[in-house]
Symmetry: none
Subunit: 129 residues, 4 copies
């Protein structure tokens, strides 16, 4: 369902938050789609329902989902929140690139990395415009 790493440094609730937020902002979860119940996620991931609850709570606060007690949680129709999230992801990537540059990563290294991740990156004569 969702993926988390229990050994990683990032708190579980944050991993879950980011994972779900990513699914929403990238369109892999659609507006109105129902999220799995708190307790089920907890059972599947082998973590405490409280931890899942925290993630859902934060997602709701961010406007990405809405919860109806006794019914369930659903992806929000509000696309403002998703757009804000996208802007935030962009900002973060920019900051990380700054850090990388400061650490001596060259443009070539960056570009080669990006190609691996996003696929061939329109190097020469492709008219992607």
């Amino acid at each position: 369902m969702f993926e988390i790493s229990l050994t990683g440094k990032a708190p579980i609730y944050e991993q879950l938050y980011n994972g779900i937020a990513g699914l929403i902002s990238s369109g892999r979860m659609q507006s109105g789609e129902k999220l799995p119940p708190v307790r089920e996620v907890a059972k599947q991931l082998g973590i405490n329902p409280n931890t899942v609850q925290k993630s859902y709570f934060l997602l709701e606060q961010a406007g990405l989902i809405y919860s109806i007690p006794a019914k369930g949680s659903y992806v929000s129709e509000d696309c403002e929140a998703a757009q804000a999230l996208h802007a935030q992801a962009l900002k973060r990537l920019g900051e990380e690139m700054e850090t990388a540059k400061r650490a001596g990563i060259t443009a070539d290294e960056q570009r080669s990395l990006a190609e691996k991740i996003w696929g061939i990156n329109t190097e020469k004569g492709d008219n992607h415009d």
Copy 2:
């Protein structure tokens, strides 16, 4: 001298470590160059000398600096450590790009960001605008 954020989530000693490591791996601090004394850094940043000490200790462990008791700490001549650091920065950038992609950042957005940071990527003969 160095920059840290007291309110940020990252521990102070880690921020300091990363900051200095970046200066070294990117060549802005040269081999043999003397680092400012622990106590001075602490006073300037308004933090506990123990915290600075921890950062220096970790930098020494990583092979990036060496300390001569009663003299001071110096940037290491050993370039292995710097290379390892460089590899690590690359890895981290890769991970962040993965995360960004998962969050819906497109190749185009990434490229445009990279160009702002590293300047136009026209190292060889590619004329991609």
Copy 3:
């Protein structure tokens, strides 16, 4: 017909109760007027008939409406209940004003707000601008 918010924090039955109670205490629903049938309200609002039933039950308990089995529900002639409701609304507004004051809302801000909602407060002879 009536308005409710499924995503809001307040329980549906409470929203419905308050909405109808407001219509009665403000005179927009008259004594003896027939309320729409439980099932119809439920269908229109897309909620469970039990939930509507609960609201009607509470309205009846409060003396604001009365139900005749197999005929329907009607706004009560009893004005005691409506008066009690009015007193309750007053009390609530007072509490909210206390909260607002504690949050730093000034008398001026309050007054300007009230004027927007109730219209210019110039009932008697006061010429305060």
Copy 4:
């Protein structure tokens, strides 16, 4: 220190949040002022530290305070958040007034209430302008 009602309907963490937020937005807690430690508040109020933690967490998220692990929590210097809070309190008061009006509260009743709470409300010839 702070006040909460264990019998009220509003969740404890929310009462605490609102109480502290009010102190900040109304200027009774100053920028940079230290908040009492989570555990101490919990002990004084006879509630669980987790509940206090939740309030502090939300206050930090709202930008009203910032927490430095192992040091403490402090009122934020950022006045944007406090302004947003003020705007929010205004909005809420407006909504409550709308509700009150819908429930049949008259302008006179409202004004008389406001006078009790904010003090004499510049009715006639006072030149508060």
